[in-house]
C-alpha cells in the first residue's frame, strides 16, 4: 500500500489549469503507481487543512478537474488537531504542514509506504519526526 499525500503546491498544480508544476506532480504519481504492486494500491490523500489552504472548494466549477481525482480528504478530528498543534509549536510550521506531519507519523508506522509531494521536503521531514516517509520536491 502506498499513500501519496499532496501539499498545497501539489494541489495547486492540479487545480490550476496549465500549472507549470503539473508535470512534476504527474511524474511522481506515475512513479508511485509503478512502484506499487499491480498499480492498484496507490491512494492519494489531501489533509483537510491543505484543502483549505489551497482554496479547493469542491462545490466550485473551477474545481471540476481536481474533483475528478480519487483523492481522499483526511479529516482534522480532535486528536489530530491536538497532535498538529504540538507540531506547529515545536517546529513553527503551517497548520497544513503540521497536519501532513501527523498523517505521516500515523500511517508510515503501519507498514504503509508514505510519499509526500511537496514544495518543502525539509519541513515535511521535520514534522514527520523520523517516521519513514519519502518527501519529494516538486520541481519546475
Amino acid at each position: 500500500m502506498t499513500m501519496v499525500i499532496l501539499d498545497n503546491e501539489a494541489v495547486q498544480a492540479i487545480l490550476q489549469p496549465h500549472h507549470p508544476k503539473f508535470r512534476s506532480v504527474a511524474a511522481r504519481v506515475e512513479a508511485a503507481r509503478w512502484r506499487s504492486a499491480n498499480h492498484t494500491q496507490v491512494s492519494l490523500h489531501v489533509p483537510a487543512t491543505v484543502q483549505v489552504e489551497a482554496g479547493w472548494d469542491r462545490t466550485s466549477p473551477s474545481a471540476a478537474r481536481l474533483n475528478r481525482y480519487p483523492i481522499t480528504i483526511s479529516p482534522l478530528d480532535a486528536s489530530t488537531a491536538d497532535a498538529a498543534a504540538r507540531l506547529v509549536t515545536e517546529h513553527s510550521v503551517t497548520p497544513a504542514d503540521a497536519h501532513i506531519g501527523v498523517l505521516c507519523q500515523k500511517h508510515a508506522t503501519q507498514g504503509t509506504r508514505v510519499i509526500v509531494l511537496t514544495s518543502d521536503p525539509e519541513d515535511i521531514l521535520r514534522v514527520a519526526n523520523s517516521a519513514p516517509v519519502t518527501a519529494l520536491r516538486i520541481w519546475l
Binding site: A26, R28, V29, I115
Partner: protein, 137 residues
C-alpha cells in the same frame, strides 16, 4: 479516452458520504469465497469478507479512475505527460536509489533504451543506468 462525465460520476460516488448498503447477488467461485473467508479469519486482511470485498473493489476502482483521469489530462494537454526519464527519476527517488541524484544519467539511459525498446519500463531504465554508471566508474 473515457467520457469525462463518467469519470465525474465515478468520483462523486466514491466520495459520497452516503454509506447505505445493499445486498447483492454477486456470484463468486466457491473456492474464492472460502479463501476470502479464511484470509479474513486467519490472516487479518480485513474485519470481514464483506469489508474485504468492498475495500478491494474501492481500491481497484480508484486505481482505474486515477489512470483514466491522468490519461484524460494528457490527451487534453500532451505537453503535461511526463517522460519515461521523469517517471524513472521519481521511481529512483522513491527507492532512495543514488541515481536519483544523477538525473543526467537517467535521462541518457532512457533515451538509449527507448531507441531499441519503445515500451521500456522505469525499472529497465534504472537497470540500464546503473549498468552504465558501473561501467564508466
Amino acid at each position: 479516452m473515457a467520457n469525462p462525465e463518467i469519470l465525474d460520476r465515478i468520483s462523486a460516488l466514491l466520495h459520497s458520504p452516503d454509506d447505505t448498503t445493499v445486498n447483492t447477488s454477486m456470484r463468486l467461485p466457491v473456492t474464492l469465497r472460502e479463501a476470502a473467508a479464511l484470509a479474513t479469519e486467519h490472516l487479518g486482511v480485513a474485519p470481514s469478507t464483506t469489508a474485504y470485498t468492498a475495500q478491494l473493489l474501492r481500491s481497484d476502482i480508484e486505481a482505474a479512475l486515477l489512470a483514466a483521469v491522468l490519461e484524460a489530462h494528457y490527451q487534453e494537454e500532451p505537453s503535461d505527460r511526463p517522460s519515461l526519464a521523469e517517471i524513472t527519476l521519481g521511481v529512483a527517488e522513491i527507492d532512495a536509489n543514488p541515481l536519483a541524484r544523477r538525473p543526467d544519467l537517467i535521462t541518457k539511459a532512457a533515451e538509449e533504451i527507448v531507441a531499441t525498446h519503445p515500451e521500456a519500463t522505469p525499472d529497465e531504465v534504472l537497470l540500464w543506468a546503473e549498468a552504465q554508471f558501473v561501467i564508466r566508474s
